[in-house]
C-alpha cells in the first residue's frame, strides 16, 4: 500500500517537474515572439480568432486586401451578421485552406467567403515573415503542422515553428519592456480581423485596366487547395462563396476570373469579382485607398462592407443574431 503511494507521488513529482520546464519554455517562446501589438497588427489576426470562434457565423478568408476591406462591425450593425476575418498579409491559398480547416475543427461556421486575390502568385511563393504572422498565432494541431509543411521555405525548419523561440531567440539584443508586458496579452487589437487604415494615397490613373499578361493560368497548388477548401466546406455542409475583394490593381487578368468561374460552376457556387461593382459600391479610388489602390482605407472599407452585407443578406440564408443576447454582448464589447 505504502509502496503504491510512493509510486504515485513519484509520478506526480516527475509530471510537476516536466510541467514547470514546459511553463518556462512556453514563457520564453512568448517573450521572444515579435509582439505586433503597436505595429504590424496583422500578426494578431490569427490568434484573436479563438475567443471569437463561437460567435463566427461567417468567416472571411484571404489575403491582406480582405482584412483592410471587410469590417465585421459594419456587417453586424447593419445586417446582424456575426463574422471574423481570417486573412493575413500574403496569405496563400494553402494557408487559407488550413485557416478554414482550423476554424471548422473548433466550431462549424454557417458560411465561408473565400477571397481569391492571391491566386495570381505561383506555387513556390514563400514569404517567411508573412507565413510567421499567419501561423505563429495558430493553436497547435495537425492542421497547423500540415500548414507549416505546405508553407515553409527550403531553409526553414519545422522545429522553428513549433518552438518560435528557436527562430526569434536572437531578438535578445532588442528585447523591450513590451515583450514582457505583452507575453501573455489577450486583449484584441484587431476588430475581428479587420485592420482599419486611415491613410489616403489616391490612384493616379482612375481607369482600372487589368494588364497581367503571359502565364495567366492558375497554378497547380493554388487550384488544388481551392478545390480542397470547397470540398471541405461541402462535406461539412458549410455554404461557400468565392470572391475577389475590390482593389485598384492592374495585376490581374480576366483569365483568372474565367478559371475560377468554371470551378464555381462545377460546385454550383457563386464567384464575384467585386471590381466589376465599383459604381454600385460607390468606391472612389481617389479617396478610398491608403496605397494607390492596392488596398481599401477606412472610408472604402465602410462602403464595401455595407455593400457586401446587403449582398450576403439578400442572397444567402445567414442567421440574424441581433436578437441573441450573448451575441449582442459580445459585439458591444468589440465596438465599444
Amino acid at each position: 500500500m505504502k509502496k503504491a503511494g510512493n509510486k504515485i507521488i513519484n509520478i506526480i513529482s516527475v509530471a510537476l517537474k516536466v510541467l514547470l520546464i514546459l511553463f518556462l519554455v512556453i514563457t520564453l517562446n512568448r517573450i521572444f515572439m515579435p509582439k505586433y501589438v503597436h505595429e504590424n497588427l496583422d500578426g494578431r489576426i490569427t490568434q484573436e480568432y479563438y475567443p471569437q470562434a463561437k460567435y463566427s457565423d461567417v468567416i472571411f478568408v484571404g489575403s491582406s486586401t480582405v482584412h483592410s476591406a471587410v469590417d465585421p462591425r459594419v456587417l453586424w450593425e447593419e445586417q446582424g451578421i456575426s463574422s471574423y476575418v481570417r486573412a493575413n498579409a500574403s496569405q496563400t491559398m494553402w494557408i487559407s485552406y488550413y485557416m478554414i480547416e482550423d476554424a471548422v475543427k473548433l466550431r462549424k461556421p454557417e458560411m465561408v467567403c473565400l477571397d481569391v486575390t492571391f491566386i495570381k502568385y505561383g506555387d513556390d511563393f514563400v514569404e517567411e515573415p508573412s507565413t510567421r504572422k499567419s501561423l505563429d498565432g495558430m493553436r497547435l494541431s495537425s492542421s497547423k503542422i500540415e500548414c507549416i509543411k505546405a508553407s515553409m521555405g527550403p531553409d526553414e525548419k519545422m522545429a522553428e515553428y513549433i518552438m518560435p523561440l528557436f527562430r526569434f531567440h536572437s531578438r535578445w539584443k532588442e528585447l523591450s519592456l513590451d515583450d514582457f508586458r505583452y507575453a501573455y496579452y489577450n486583449k484584441a487589437v484587431t476588430f475581428n480581423g479587420y485592420l482599419p487604415d486611415e491613410e489616403v494615397d489616391p490612384v493616379e490613373e482612375k481607369e482600372l485596366v487589368y494588364t497581367k499578361e503571359g502565364d495567366t493560368e492558375i497554378s497547380g497548388r493554388n487550384l488544388y487547395y481551392l478545390n480542397k477548401a470547397i470540398e471541405l466546406c461541402r462535406s461539412k455542409g458549410i455554404t461557400v462563396m468565392l470572391f475577389k475583394t475590390p482593389a485598384h490593381s492592374s495585376n490581374w487578368s480576366t483569365d483568372y476570373d474565367d478559371q475560377i468561374n468554371s470551378v464555381a460552376k462545377e460546385y454550383g457556387l457563386t464567384y464575384i469579382n467585386f471590381d466589376e461593382y465599383n459604381d454600385e459600391i460607390g468606391l472612389d479610388y481617389t479617396a478610398d485607398t491608403p496605397d494607390k489602390g492596392s488596398h481599401l482605407n477606412t472610408s472604402g472599407a465602410v462602403k464595401f462592407s455595407s455593400y457586401l452585407g446587403r449582398y450576403l443578406k439578400d442572397n444567402y440564408n445567414i442567421t440574424d443574431r441581433k436578437t441573441n443576447d450573448k451575441y449582442i454582448k459580445n459585439w458591444n464589447g468589440i465596438i465599444k
Binding site: 504590424n40 489575403s63 517567411e128 515573415p129 523561440l165 531567440h169 535578445w172 539584443k173
Partner: protein, 531 residues
C-alpha cells in the same frame, strides 16, 4: 542527423522511451538498432565500412581466441611429454600465428582509414612530383571521398579491442550483435570518447533500472555541453575566422585575441560535444570514459596531454608508445648507444623515438595537411625541451628561493602552458605552415592600433555578442575551478530545490536564448509592406 539538433534530441527521447519500456534483458538490442538507424541516416553506403570493421574484428578476435584454446589444449594434453624448451617454442609458433591474424586485421582497417583520409593528399604530391620532375601536366584527378561518419573513432576503438584480445587482457565478446553495439554505440560514434572494451562492455550490457536521477543528471550535462558549444564556441567562430583571414589589416592584439578565442572555441566545441555524448549515455545508465579533465589548468605540456582528449592520448600510449618503446630493436639500439659511452642519450632512445612517432601520428590524426604534422612535431619538441630543461628550471627556482608549490608559481606555469598550447593551435586555424608562422609573427606588431570598435563592427563580433562571450567564458572558467573539488552537478543536487530550479532555468534560458544558432532576426522584414 547532426549531433546538436532538434532531430537528434527527438531521436534520443524516442530511443530512451523504447529503452526503458523494453525488458532489461533486451535493452542493449534497442541501443544496437538505434545505433544502426542513427548510422544509416548518415548514408546507407556507410554501413559497408562499419560492417567491414565489425566483421573483421569479430572474426579476428575469434581466430586469435581459437589459437589460444588450441594452445591451452595442446599444452594440457602433452603436459608431461614436453620439455620447457619445446613448450616455449610451441608457444612462440602460436603467438606468431595470432600476430599474423592481428596484423591482417589492423592492416585492413587502418588501410581503409588511411586510404580514405590521405588518398587526395597523396595524389596532390604525386601530381606535384610528376609536374616537377617529369613535366607532366595530366594531373591525376582527386577522389574526393567522403569519410564515413566517425570512422576514425570506431576504427581506433575496435582495433584497440583486437590488440587487447591479442594480449589476452580479457575474453572476447562471443555474441556478434553485442559486439556490433560496442563498435557502433551512437552517442560516441561521431566524436568519441574512444572507449576500451574492458570499460564499455560492462556498461553496455548491464541491466539497469529506470532511475529519474540519471535522466536529470544527464540532462544537466547535456545542457552544460550545449552551453559551451552554442553560447561560446559557435559565437566566437566567426571572429576567429575573420581575424585570421584579415591578419594583414588587423595585426597584434586582434590576432592575440583570436588565438585566445580559438582556444575557448575549440575547448567549448569539443568538450561540449563530449559532454552531450556523455550526458546522453548517462541517461541510458551507461558511463563513458571522461575525455577532458580541465586541461587549461595543466602546468606542463605533457600534463596537458594527459588532460585533453584523454582517450586518444591513452590509446596512443597503450597501442603505439609502449609497444614501440618495448620493441626489441629499439631497446637494443638504446643499449648499444649506452655501451658506446653516450649513457644519457642511450637512455632516451627508447622514449623519444616512439614519442616522435606518436606525435607524428597524432598530427596525422588531426588532419591530412602538412600543418598538422608540423603541429604534432612542435608538440614533441616542446615536450622534449620541457623534460630536458626540468632539472635546470628546478635549479633556477631553488636558487631564486621561489616557492615551487606556491600559487604564484602554479599560476605562472598554467599561464605559460595555456599560451604555448594556444600558439601551437595557430597551425589549426591557418591555411598552411607558412601562413601559420606569418600569423604568429604578426601577433607582435602594432599593438597600439587596437580598437575594440573594429572587433565589434568589422570582425563579426558585435558588442552584445562580445559581452555574452566574455561572460560565458568567465562562467566556464569558474565552473572548471569548482570542478577541481569534484562533480559540480553533485554539488548542485545537494542544494535546496529552489536553487536547483533557478540554476536549471538559467541554463535552459542561456542555451536557448544566447545560443548562437538558427537564422538571425531582421525586424525590418517583419514590417507589413508588400501586400
Amino acid at each position: 542527423m547532426p549531433f546538436i539538433s532538434v532531430d537528434f534530441a527527438l531521436f534520443v527521447t524516442a530511443v530512451l522511451l523504447l529503452y526503458y519500456i523494453f525488458p532489461k534483458r533486451y535493452r542493449w538490442v534497442v541501443l544496437l538498432i538505434a545505433s544502426y538507424v542513427f548510422y544509416g541516416l548518415t548514408g546507407i553506403e556507410n554501413f559497408a565500412y562499419i560492417l567491414t570493421t565489425t566483421v573483421s574484428a569479430f572474426l579476428g578476435a575469434m581466430l586469435i581466441e581459437n589459437k589460444g584454446t588450441e594452445q591451452k589444449k595442446y599444452l594440457e594434453d602433452n603436459k608431461n611429454k614436453l620439455t620447457k624448451e619445446e613448450k616455449k617454442s610451441y608457444k612462440a609458433v602460436i603467438k606468431k600465428k595470432q600476430k599474423l591474424i592481428l596484423t591482417v586485421c589492423i592492416l585492413l582497417n587502418f588501410g581503409i582509414l588511411l586510404y580514405l583520409k590521405y588518398i587526395d593528399w597523396s595524389i596532390a604530391y604525386i601530381n606535384l612530383f610528376r609536374l616537377t620532375y617529369m613535366g607532366r601536366i595530366d594531373f591525376i584527378p582527386f577522389k574526393n571521398l567522403l569519410l564515413p561518419l566517425g570512422i576514425s573513432f570506431y576504427t581506433f576503438q575496435t582495433m584497440g579491442y583486437l590488440i587487447d584480445i591479442y594480449y589476452g587482457k580479457y575474453e572476447r565478446e562471443h555474441n556478434f550483435f553485442r559486439f556490433a553495439l560496442f563498435v557502433s554505440f551512437f552517442p560516441q560514434i561521431i566524436q568519441g570518447p574512444i572507449s576500451r572494451f574492458g570499460e564499455l562492455a560492462g556498461e553496455l550490457y548491464k541491466e539497469v533500472d529506470f532511475d529519474f536521477s540519471r535522466i536529470k543528471s544527464g540532462f544537466y550535462r547535456i545542457m552544460w555541453g550545449l552551453f559551451k558549444k552554442l553560447v561560446i564556441a559557435d559565437r566566437l567562430a566567426a571572429y576567429v575566422r575573420d581575424a585570421i583571414a584579415l591578419r594583414e589589416t588587423y595585426k597584434g592584439l586582434y590576432i592575440l585575441l583570436a588565438v585566445f578565442f580559438y582556444s575557448m572555441q575549440i575547448y567549448g566545441d569539443f568538450s561540449g560535444g563530449i559532454d552531450v555524448a556523455l550526458g546522453v549515455s548517462e541517461m541510458f545508465g551507461i558511463k563513458l570514459a571522461e575525455n577532458f579533465n580541465r586541461p587549461f589548468f595543466s602546468k606542463s605540456i605533457s600534463e596537458y596531454w594527459q588532460r585533453w582528449h584523454i582517450t586518444l592520448g591513452t590509446w596512443f600510449k597503450d597501442y603505439i608508445f609502449y609497444p614501440l618503446s618495448l620493441n626489441k630493436g629499439i631497446i637494443k639500439l638504446g643499449k648499444f648507444v649506452r655501451e658506446k659511452g653516450a649513457v644519457q642519450f642511450g637512455k632516451r632512445i627508447p622514449i623519444y623515438i616512439p614519442m616522435l612517432i606518436v606525435w607524428f601520428t597524432t598530427g596525422m590524426w588531426h588532419g591530412s595537411q602538412n600543418r598538422f604534422v608540423v603541429w604534432g612535431l612542435f608538440n614533441f619538441v616542446f615536450i622534449v625541451l620541457g623534460t630536458e630543461f626540468e632539472p635546470l628550471s628546478n635549479k633556477i627556482t631553488q636558487e631564486l628561493k621561489l616557492n615551487e608549490t606556491g600559487v604564484m608559481m602554479k599560476t605562472y606555469r598554467v599561464f605559460k602552458t595555456f599560451w604555448l598550447m594556444s600558439f601551437l593551435r595557430i597551425f589549426d586555424i591557418s591555411a598552411d605552415v607558412p601562413s601559420a608562422f606569418d600569423t604568429f609573427v604578426l601577433i607582435f606588431r602594432d599593438w597600439g592600433s587596437f580598437n575594440i570598435k573594429f572587433v565589434y563592427e568589422n570582425l563579426s563580433l558585435p558588442q552584445e555578442d562580445f559581452i555574452v562571450a566574455v561572460v560565458a567564458i568567465v562562467i566556464m572558467f569558474v565552473f572548471d575551478l569548482i570542478q577541481r573539488r569534484g562533480s559540480v552537478r553533485e554539488r548542485i543536487f545537494k542544494l535546496p530545490v529552489i536553487f536547483q530550479w533557478v540554476i536549471l532555468s538559467l541554463l535552459i534560458t542561456a542555451v536557448s536564448v544566447f545560443g548562437y544558432y538558427g537564422p538571425g532576426y531582421d525586424a525590418a522584414s517583419f514590417i507589413y509592406g508588400a501586400f
